[in-house]
């Protein structure tokens, strides 16, 4: 398995986490602090272009140039191990690093732009960033510390049926760098099990896309929802209470659109959606509103609060 760092980490902010599930960022920060992971957040870091990139609006060269700038920021901040909160940031940054390392003409062109823009200090040298050794999903950073989680658990969440949705842009884009088997990924389940809960390890459609499909959710909604519905029906069949995520776009699709999809096919799904960092933070005793941010969710997460048992009260 690839080597995963626990220091000099730039926690890479995500546009969708920012505005839809900010609790994912605060939960991750809470966990990094608890697990002794050394990291910073930089106000200079720009968005990866992800949604715009995969809506075909941004061209590859522009996305790559902006990634080079963010790599320069990480280097200047002396935290060149990037940990993303979103699967699409992860895929885009890895691809950009590969292009910058392997295509001399692109790197030269980007550096020329940086020179003439007064940011020569951010110029990119080949191999500055290694796609495999420097760019991670934050869930991988947590996964690396899974053995330390059991001793830190304060809240018993074992009363729920739990399944995971591993994001396509984590598992499938750079599949040779994905932890475990991309046809049955278990990164999220491994972390959940570390909190002492059972998980539904396989269900039909487990590796399916969430159905968001970037432009599809907005321009081709019925198709988008029909794909999401397939997965929701399989989760319902498996009596899943909580679906765990690692990408805000997937979480958005399953949480925000769940009710309207359910109404259209006459099924009451009521499946709670949490990012794995939010779930772990809850288990480790984080405040549901001031850290985990469950007040921003569409499918109410309050049933978890009603059923959680404090381990210390035993």
């Amino acid at each position: 398995m690839k080597e995963i760092p626990d220091k000099e980490i730039l926690l890479f902010k995500s546009c969708l986490v920012n505005v839809e599930y900010p609790g994912v960022e605060s939960s991750t920060r809470f966990l990094f602090d608890k697990l002794g992971i050394e990291y910073i957040v930089s106000e200079k870091q720009s968005c990866c272009t992800g949604l715009g990139h995969y809506a075909d609006l941004f061209d590859q060269f522009s996305t790559t140039a902006l990634a080079a700038r963010n790599f320069g920021v990480a280097r200047e901040e002396k935290h060149k191990n990037i940990a993303t909160l979103c699967a699409t940031c992860y895929a885009i940054l890895k691809k950009s690093a590969n292009i910058l390392n392997k295509k001399d003409n692109v790197r030269k062109e980007v550096n020329k732009i940086f020179d003439s823009s007064g940011i020569s200090d951010l110029k990119y040298t080949a191999e500055d960033m290694d796609s495999r050794d420097n760019i991670f999903h934050s869930v991988e950073i947590l996964y690396n510390k899974a053995d330390e989680v059991p001793d830190l658990v304060e809240v018993d969440l074992s009363g729920f049926r739990i399944a995971a949705h591993h994001a396509c842009h984590y598992c499938k884009v750079h599949h040779k760098d994905t932890i475990g088997n991309v046809r049955n990924p278990m990164v999220i389940e491994t972390l959940a099990k570390a909190c002492g809960v059972e998980t539904v390890d396989w269900y039909d459609r487990k590796t399916n896309t969430c159905g968001n499909g970037f432009r599809q959710r907005y321009m081709n909604k019925e198709l988008s929802f029909s794909i999401t519905a397939e997965k929701l029906l399989s989760l319902k069949e498996n009596e899943v209470d909580i679906l765990l995520h690692m990408c805000p776009n997937c979480q958005l699709q399953f949480d925000r659109s769940q009710k309207v999809i359910g109404e259209s096919i006459g099924v009451d799904f009521n499946i709670m959606c949490l990012n794995i960092s939010q779930f772990l933070a809850l288990a480790l005793g984080a405040d549901p509103y001031k850290v985990v941010g469950i007040q921003t969710h569409s499918v109410p997460v309050e049933p978890i609060l009603e059923n959680i048992k404090q381990i210390s009260s035993y």
Binding site: C15, N18, V19, P22, G23, E25, S26, R29, V41, E43, Q45, S46, C47, T49, G50, L51, G52, Y54, A55, D56, L57, F58, D59, Q60, F61, S62, T64, A65, L66, V106, I113, S116, S117, C168, H169, K172, V173, V182, N208, T209, G211, N212, G213, F214, R215, Q216, Y218, N220, L223, S226, I227, R256, S257, V260, Y289, K290, V291, G293, Q295, S298
Partner: protein, 201 residues
């Protein structure tokens, strides 16, 4: 059936795609034996006429009508095909490249125009945002609680101990300079104009 002349480079379209900046290293289009693994795992193929195997066949047949065929816009970019292909081909990447060609020749601009505000937000504060044009439709689907949450976003972020979302002015200026020089700002203007005029050229 496509008929090729003797000596004609039948792989011209495949080669254009392979050389594109978006194409992964050693993209295996020319190794495709039409096994259909891609189609077997494709969510769009399950629900529409879109067929990834067929897309590769047409690329290998130098079928340039793909640039104007709406079918290329059905891909979800989920990379399922990409992750199972035994010869390192990626219909997902092929679609991305075909759509860029469609934007270059005109027709694709109208397809991406609804998302132009995402990039405008990026130029304004270094952060993309879902275009406002979608807001009413999303509100209908997500419900009024979502709208209320959006009104209180800044307060909730503060409660969670999170800082400002926008970048400092200096960094936003850097980003604007970069995007002007990559040609993106002009590209965005052309897309925007297309949206305003409803022009499909």
């Amino acid at each position: 059936m496509t008929t090729f002349k003797i000596g004609e480079n039948t792989f011209k379209l495949a080669e254009i795609i392979i050389k594109d900046l978006k194409a992964s290293e050693n993209l295996g289009i020319l190794k495709c034996i039409q096994c259909g693994m891609c189609t077997s795992v494709c969510p769009a193929a399950r629900h529409t006429d879109y067929d990834p195997r067929g897309i590769v066949k047409r690329v290998l047949d130098k079928d340039e009508s793909l640039f104007t065929d709406d079918i290329i816009w059905n891909c979800f970019y989920c990379y399922s095909c990409h992750s199972v292909c035994p010869v390192n081909n990626s219909v997902c990447e092929i679609n991305q490249i075909l759509r860029q060609k469609a934007i270059d020749i005109g027709k694709g601009k109208l397809k991406v125009a609804p998302f132009s505000e995402y990039a405008e937000s990026y130029l304004e504060c270094g952060l993309g945002a879902i275009p406002d044009d979608f807001f009413d439709d999303l509100l209908k689907d997500y419900g009024s609680e979502w709208g209320e949450f959006k009104d209180n976003l800044e307060d909730i972020r503060e409660e969670l101990g999170l800082g400002s979302m926008s970048l400092p002015d200096k960094d936003v200026n850097e980003i604007n300079k970069i995007l002007e020089k990559t040609g993106f700002t002009k590209r965005l203007e052309r897309v925007r104009r297309c949206k305003d005029e409803g022009d499909t050229r």
